[in-house]
Subunit: 259 residues, 2 copies
């Protein structure tokens, strides 16, 4: 059984896509077979791994809509060893309206990924989600075991944590009793400011919530990668950002075996 993890946050721009890409790449570097799944109509995971979403014939939208018989028909091998992608394109936003029946809409992704030997072919399946708790995110919450919550050093991101926790709790009750929160990853951290230091301290004081030791600092390297379409572990292999995502991968590996 593959270990399934998704980056979830109602707040926009907190580093969900950046964390999904770089954690996937760091795990793949360590020899794990990884499938990255783009569930956001913005398709930033797809372009962040070097593909043009507008030029891909078969995507996750086709899997949701039942236009392909099996999800692996949409899998793309990436430029990086051990790393595959189930891509998206902007038409993914229309999928929900096009579904004929409303039966089990929330389980479409879980069911598609439980067939065709997919779980056996990968060690990890990582999901990127849009900045809301709509159809795509709910499908992801039904299909995964672990939630990773990137939290930007921002008042809105901290205030928004309540809604993320409430949504995960509701998904565990209604859809997926296995669902667990793996932890919070602090992103866009600038330790030269009191604001970041105070935020970090505040996060670490929240009871019953794991905050990873690894922090992702604010760095232009992680802006550049969004244009280059290359994970930072390749784009700037010895940078602080690459080291941080490798150390996050190590913490995640330790955590999933411990839980």
């Amino acid at each position: 059984m593959a270990i399934t993890i998704a980056c979830i946050s109602g707040k926009g721009g907190v580093g969900k896509t950046t964390t999904t890409i770089n954690l996937a790449a760091a795990l793949a570097e360590r020899g794990r077979r990884v499938l990255a799944v783009d569930c956001d109509p913005q398709s930033n995971l797809t372009s962040g791994l070097g593909f043009d979403p507008y030029r891909i014939p078969v995507t996750i939208g086709d899997v949701f809509a039942g236009r392909v018989r099996s999800a692996p028909d949409a899998f793309l091998s990436t430029h990086w060893e051990n790393l595959w992608l189930l891509p998206a394109k902007p038409d993914l936003s229309a999928v929900e309206n096009d579904l004929n029946s409303s039966l089990n809409r929330e389980l479409l992704l879980r069911d598609a990924l439980s067939r065709d030997g997919i779980q056996a072919s990968f060690d990890f399946i990582l999901f990127d989600t849009p900045p809301n708790f709509g159809f795509h995110t709910v499908n992801v919450l039904a299909a995964i075991r672990y939630v990773l919550i990137p939290v930007q050093m921002s008042g809105y991101a901290i205030k928004g944590l309540k809604e993320v926790l409430r949504t995960v709790h509701a998904a565990r009750q209604r859809l997926n009793p296995e669902l667990r929160i793996l932890g919070i990853v602090a992103t866009f951290v600038n330790l030269r400011t009191n604001f970041s230091r105070d935020m970090l301290e505040g996060l670490r004081e929240i009871p019953n919530l794991t905050v990873f030791d690894t922090i992702i600092k604010l760095t232009v390297k992680l802006q550049e990668t969004s244009l280059a379409g290359i994970p930072v572990t390749s784009y700037a292999a010895s940078s602080e950002a690459a080291l941080a995502y490798r150390s996050l991968a190590d913490e995640v590996l330790a955590q999933v075996w411990a839980l």
Copy 2:
């Protein structure tokens, strides 16, 4: 008739809320009577102006659902002169599903704001939207004349520009022939990096698209205000960020009279 402007972007975390709050505050400082409308279930505009969304009895959700007869029943006066708020709370995300009829769903907000003398009571009505092109954003596009597009120095934000322009074009064809793009505001700019300088240059080369001269630089002051719930024009009145939003207000004033 009030001048109606919305910050729109499919990409998350680009500065939609921060721009709505600070532009509203800068216009109010210049003696314009301003209504800020929160159309995002995250309710960051509401908390960014000092209110706790969970403790407000009547919000825009009640206006959409027809639970209040007139929108002004939900208006709140803020701490700042000439600045009012139509607040939101997280239950706004459920509004679309609760609507009885699907007739004219997209015109609910436009119609609610065209009654009760609202247009005559304000010089400007500014709208904050969620990071998607769903029900709330479509309602806003039908209710406004001008679109402001904050663009973060990010590969994903630039790539996402295509979808914003496509959405605005579709809204003009289908819903609102008056709709115009006021311009692009560059946000999170760090002029010490090649990345920001190259991005800015790239933005300015796009044909037929106004890019405001004013740029909003990356600054911890605009992180702090998200927690403080105070516009930067008050929180740090002589800061570079406050001056930038005042100069943006001047450019917007010049632009709306010119068009």
